[in-house]
Symmetry: C2
DNA sequence: TCCCGCGCTGAGAACGTTCTCAATTCGACG
DNA sequence: CGTCGAATTGAGAACGTTCTCAGCGCGGGA
């Protein structure tokens, strides 16, 4: 358990002061004579010197660590986002600490303490229930994952759910569907974008709005199953259903099948997110793909920019486009009205 | 951007020395008079003092950070393992840094430097191509994820693939299958456990061994698709197929369906891992569930133990039991031979 | 010859914590 | 009222780095 060599050891071996050794081992080589440089480099190599980032951070107040808070890494949506964040940050020399908030604000609060305590350089967060205030008193760059409408003064990166929802509805409309059900989930007690667009879409196309085929649940497969179940047992069931996310859609598919309805012949289903499992159902799920990886990448880029240019002021709100992926779960309705 | 208050500020406000303040703010309260304690606590609260972990780490050489190296967080197997690790470590006050090796040894090596540089307290790693030597020179506790046969002197946590494979084969055998195909993947150029067990199983049950229905690919859905495709076009195709993991199995299901074979009526398929998507296919995939979460938990527990009791010596090799989950992709063969 | 400036190097402070050791206070007891 | 041990507190070093400031040697210009 011999201690790791420090820069002092390197300096000693090279016969220089630690200041000079430090200059060589960091970016200031141009200040050091070439021969000296070689000596230091050789010494460092011989000792197997590795910079102690902890000590460095204490001095520079830069940890090159970034925190990423998401609801749950186990939820198939998030790993891809996380990967985008990690890849981008890693390329710039940052390490990422991921925590799961489980949608619980206590966990989030606890996490913010961790961020402060460990002096992370930045934070990317899908904020469940944290106020802008708390976030801003951290005094480090913060990027919100999602719309970020609750945090007007913070940068935010999300997907364009308006456009995505419209694309899905349009797709169903174009196929001939006129009676489209919606299984939406409430995001943090707010009325969902899907529902808004759904209503707007019906108005725009002069379609009758039947609120009985507009169901609210949560983001789970079970909720989707239950909702679809009640939907299909209506006297006049919808010919197509749009779900707030793929989990709901998958649950809905199961319910439809359980009730003996064939997909897409008897009922079309569209999901949202394009998680891995969406491609493996049969029929494969038509869905609105969110640019998960790009969301992560973009958030990380903005964060890095904020870290390196603290004077940058204009708040950035980015909504990345969604893409409709037509697979096998949608088709024209059996009897086009 | 006013600086965070330090323990010195707290001490000053409370009218004590920083040593006393430190004693109160850490675990040594019993050394401090009660009134003094209150004063310090009040001062800390008033200033909103948060311990600077970086400075603390420099002094104590403990960072309370642990590194977790996995192939790819995007691969549905790993998030669950990661979650087990994180939950366990977090409960003990450790933060986790996850990196993706992408099965590339350069990335792994680079990562080991990160571990050294940042003085992480421990490492949990699904080692792709790193020698025990490299791992051991880190001089910190290391737990291997997987069999760990390459690292005899390091603790390892994996699943009991022998038992799992046997259970799957036995299940198919019990259903009446006598001609069982195997689509296995090579793990790091080693002969797969599945193949070993497969052969052993056939010997044990006196079944003829036909190597033409024993296919090797890699761990992807595409490989599964291709393998299944060739399997089903054999003059005498197998009545059941065991796949090395769920991705392969899902690919195999698609291939079978594409060729017009119904599952499970005409061919049974068993996967391995029990990833999220396995439950969402139709029919839902029968699979050997690996105790992913528990693997993470166990690895983290062992790591914590090693960190807190460095003198503990006996190497721990844990193989957690798998569980066969029978769903809809297996049934008795059409014509039981 | 002297001085100045430049190129290079070294000494040492600072970051905020922990912890050792010594100093001080306190209470009890003789 | 003095003494002693225990309880409580303070001074200051140490962790390994970065970085400011000053010093040194040397060459060229006055």
């Amino acid at each position: 358990m011999s201690r790791w060599p420090t820069i002092i050891d390197v300096a000693k071996l090279a016969g220089v002061s630690k200041a000079t050794a430090a200059r060589v081992l960091n970016g200031q080589q141009d200040l050091v004579r070439d021969v000296t440089q070689q000596r230091v480099l050789a010494a460092a190599k011989e000792l197997g010197y590795v910079r102690n980032a902890v000590a460095g951070s204490l001095r520079t107040d830069q940890t090159y660590m970034v925190a990423l808070s998401i609801p749950d890494i186990t939820n198939p949506f998030w790993p891809v986002v996380a990967r985008g964040v990690q890849d981008t940050l890693e390329a710039e020399g940052y390490a990422t600490v991921i925590v799961n908030s489980d949608w619980k604000s206590e966990r989030e609060t606890k996490f913010l303490t961790l961020v402060r305590r460990n002096r992370f350089d930045g934070l990317i967060i899908n904020a469940v229930d944290t106020s802008s205030q708390e976030l801003e008193t951290l005094n480090i760059p913060v990027v919100i994952l999602g719309g970020g409408s609750n945090h007007p003064r913070l940068d935010a990166v999300g997907s364009d759910t308006v456009q995505g929802t419209d694309a899905a509805l349009q797709h169903l409309f174009d196929l001939g569907h006129r009676r489209i059900g919606l299984i939406s989930a409430l995001n943090r007690r707010h009325y969902s974008t899907q529902a808004d667009r759904y209503i707007e879409f019906h108005q725009r196309h002069n379609l009758p709005l039947d609120r009985s085929i507009l169901i609210e649940g949560d983001f789970t497969e079970e909720a989707g199953y239950d909702a679809m179940h009640s939907l299909m047992r209506l006297p006049l069931p919808p010919t197509a259903v749009l779900a707030s996310n793929d989990n709901i859609a998958i649950g809905a598919m199961k319910a439809a099948r359980a009730l003996g309805h064939r997909i897409p012949e008897e009922v079309s289903i569209v999901g949202m997110d394009d998680i891995h499992a969406a491609a493996t159902t049969s029929p494969a799920l038509t869905t609105v793909a969110k640019p998960k990886y790009d969301i992560g990448v973009t958030a990380a880029r903005i964060l890095i920019q904020r870290i390196s240019e603290p004077e940058m002021t204009a708040v950035q709100k980015r909504k990345l486009p969604c893409e409709l992926i037509v697979r096998g779960s949608t088709a024209a309705p059996r009897t086009s009205s």
